[in-house]
Subunit: 203 residues, 2 copies
DNA sequence: ACGCGACAGTACCGATCAGTACTACGACAG
DNA sequence: CTGTCGTAGTACTGATCGGTACTGTCGCGT
């Protein structure tokens, strides 16, 4: 990705990438021009186009780096929590704090894939992001000794993405706590059912 | 809203509105210009700007009309389902079919509010949409004789919005069924706990 | 001191944008 | 027949877009 770049070149590239990430998140990919990015980053368009062949590729690089950073952060933070269901729910505790931060208005991955609907590269990054997210949840659920981890992981991911969207639209950030409570219920139900993945609770 | 317009004027206005809704949904608000809308609708820019003072207001009118239509559709369809938890879950059955339709790529309200991040009018429409959605869920839950309807409604809404987002990103449409299964579990848990909204299942 | 390359800054290009002005046509009323 | 109004179609404006070209300058290795 960043082959044979001097430290100062790395710094320039990172400065552009960080500024682009911030502006894209605040106002959307289409609403931010490359002129504004380089002005804000105190760089030149020459530099931008040296490290990124196009705006599209800059967006893709930003999103890849963001996805990697979020994933690493979640893996690291949730590993600290005590084993058991609390470790699964620690994901929600992290997200509750995140959603409550001022200036939060949705998941960068979801927002970007909405902004750039026609770009298959962005869509692929988003799919990979969700797959990694789901694998992390699945691991934490298995570590808690719960069965039917794949299905639970898919359900918890829906709660997380739903809370992210709802928080970004509404005035309050209660949705994070609601998602945690729902996840708690789902985990408790799975524990109650033990090793019988096929439920008969429907209807 | 549409005061003293002749039938032919109403038709022209509706034609522009429908075409705009379709194009905005397919490719995003920023990626579709007013020239393309009027060309596709076989109308003129004069007509567009007679009925909508700006593109922003056209987007707002489109989203209001869409939100109203979706809400009416959900109220009408779910009223047909047999009373009880099945009526609550009928919301998810409708959405599973909807998500599986070809060309589905997310909720129009969520996509539009992401596209037009700076527009407070769009944000207000989106908030109203979620509030109505939640009220509908709450009514159906109460009709099923379940307690703690407000909390359950909030949780089910997270599953719905999460499934919408995940389906729009992934290759499969399984998330709809996952959301229904999770909702089923949450409703079953609420039935089991009866009138005791405070659970002690955490940890 | 010298030279090279990355740098910021700016001017520019063709395209496209939202919005306005103006044409000519068609329907319908008096 | 005539006047009015909504219509489609087109040309236009000023601004902004992504991307390129070209300044001159600064930093660093030799």
């Amino acid at each position: 990705m960043t082959e044979t770049l001097s430290p100062s070149q790395q710094a320039t590239r990172a400065k552009i990438l960080d500024t682009a990430a911030r502006l894209f998140y605040e106002r959307g990919v289409h609403a931010v021009g490359v002129n504004e990015i380089v002005a804000e980053a105190k760089a030149s368009k020459l530099s931008l186009y040296r490290y990124f062949p196009s705006k599209e590729r800059l967006v893709a690089a930003m999103l890849t780096e963001h996805s990697d950073r979020i994933h690493d952060w979640l893996v690291r933070k949730t590993a600290d929590a005590p084993a058991g269901p609390e470790r699964v729910l620690s994901v929600f505790d992290l997200l509750i704090d995140w959603f409550a931060q001022p200036g939060y208005h949705g998941c960068t991955v979801v927002n970007t894939v909405t902004d750039t609907r026609a770009d298959p590269a962005i869509a692929a990054i988003a799919r990979r992001h969700l797959a990694r997210y789901r694998r992390l949840l699945e691991s934490r659920i298995q570590e808690a000794g719960l069965t039917d981890a794949p299905r639970l992981a898919r359900q918890l991911l829906l709660l997380i993405e739903g809370a992210s969207v709802v928080v970004s639209i509404e005035d309050t950030t209660d949705a994070g706590a609601d998602a945690r409570a729902a996840a708690d219920r789902l985990l408790a139900a799975a524990r109650r059912q033990g090793g019988h993945p096929t439920a008969r609770s429907s209807g």
